[in-house]
């Protein structure tokens, strides 16, 4: 039995997709959540290949980068899409949501109140509607087996937006 350890901060952030994949696949794993105070020590420990979280450790190997981890787990558990084309569709939609997530991070961590309001407005009125309607079009065109994985991405983003 493969032993998985996923290390991230307390919170959904960039690890939640991987946690959702474990849950969907019914695969047990160690869900390590560290406080920000423990992060500097971990960062310099050399355990994280590029000094970032989330970190997946499996069979003595370490993988970083949230999407590399998620895709690895999806491939291992059969949640990646069946054909190269389906996998590409999954990637395309996942990246669209990642871009949205990156835009969210911009206003979520903006300390200047005026700039924050401006960025939030732009996100809610321009960026998010544009991407979400493009994704909806794709889903309408093909509700294939990849739908389940994508469905979880949607609910994650909606929860964050609220």
């Amino acid at each position: 039995m493969v032993k998985y350890t996923l290390t991230y901060f307390e919170g959904r952030g960039r690890a939640e997709v991987s946690r959702l994949i474990f849950a969907a696949a019914g695969v047990k794993y160690e869900d390590v959540r560290i406080g920000f105070d423990k992060w500097p020590a971990l960062k310099t420990s050399g355990r994280c290949p590029f000094g970032t979280l989330p970190l997946l450790e499996v069979d003595g190997k370490a993988i970083g980068q949230s999407f590399a981890v998620a895709r690895f787990l999806a491939n291992e558990t059969g949640l990646a899409g069946k054909t190269n084309y389906e996998k590409a569709q999954v990637d395309m939609i996942a990246y669209a949501f990642k871009d949205l997530g990156d835009e969210m991070v911009k206003f979520a961590f903006e300390s200047d109140e005026a700039k924050k309001a401006e960025l939030t407005k732009k996100f809610l009125t321009e960026i998010a509607p544009k991407t979400l309607s493009a994704v909806e079009k794709l889903l309408e065109a093909n509700n294939g087996g990849k739908g389940f994985f994508v469905g979880k991405e949607v609910s994650e983003c909606c929860m964050f937006a609220k």
Partner: protein, 210 residues
């Protein structure tokens, strides 16, 4: 034989990894380049799922997002990694280099001269050196860094590395010798430049600034 059509700007930018993949696999494709001034019109055509480029059209299907395209082609051409773990390492390196190239692009895109200089200094003193150092460490873990970034054959991670390090070899980054401290990465770059199929593409491709 599928008929591939890549549509992107007339830059290297986010299209070049894809073009290098076709070159490495020696697969023919249509390399459509849209000039900046024509993009606003093209964008409204409905052809682009997210109103962005690049897109790949194959067998009546359209794929958007540069890395979704790159990974699709890598999977099709056997340049993705041999196991799920290798593929994950390729993805990890590609995503890390993607984060790094965004920092590079910010320097290029900044019009304010002072801010540009600030961004440049920041990039060359922090993000680029730390990422390259980490990359070389990861590389050395793979057969002591004498071969390719992942596994024992070329993958698209090597092509991302090749495409992105080109920026370090031209202005305004050239003077900082960003690859100088990293012998293994420099040697990898030289090895890739010497691969006949890549060399052929590099010799015939249009010359662009970015």
């Amino acid at each position: 034989m599928p008929k591939y059509k890549l549509t992107y700007f007339n830059f290297r930018g986010r299209g070049e990894v894809i073009r290098l993949l076709f070159a490495a696999a020696k697969i023919e494709y249509e390399d459509v380049r849209i000039e900046m001034e024509n993009w606003p019109n093209e964008k409204e055509s409905g052809k682009f799922p997210f109103c962005q480029m690049p897109i790949l059209e194959v067998d009546g299907i359209t794929i958007a997002q540069s890395y979704a395209i790159a990974r699709f082609l890598a999977n099709e051409f056997g340049l993705a990694g041999e196991t799920n773990l290798e593929r994950a390492k390729v993805d990890m390196i590609a995503d890390t280099l993607e984060d790094l190239v965004k920092v590079i692009y910010r320097v290029y895109l900044e019009n304010d001269k002072n801010r540009k200089e600030e961004l440049l200094k920041e990039a060359v003193t922090t993000k680029v050196p730390s990422t390259l150092a980490a990359l070389e460490k990861v590389f050395i873990q793979n057969d002591e860094g004498f071969g390719y970034l992942v596994g024992d054959k070329m993958t698209w991670a090597d092509l991302v590395f090749l495409a992105h390090t080109e920026y370090y070899c031209s202005e305004p980054f050239k003077q900082y010798g960003l690859l100088n401290p990293h012998a293994k990465l420099r040697a990898l770059r030289e090895r890739l430049l010497g691969e006949p199929r890549l060399r052929r593409w590099l010799n015939i491709r249009p010359t662009t600034d970015v």
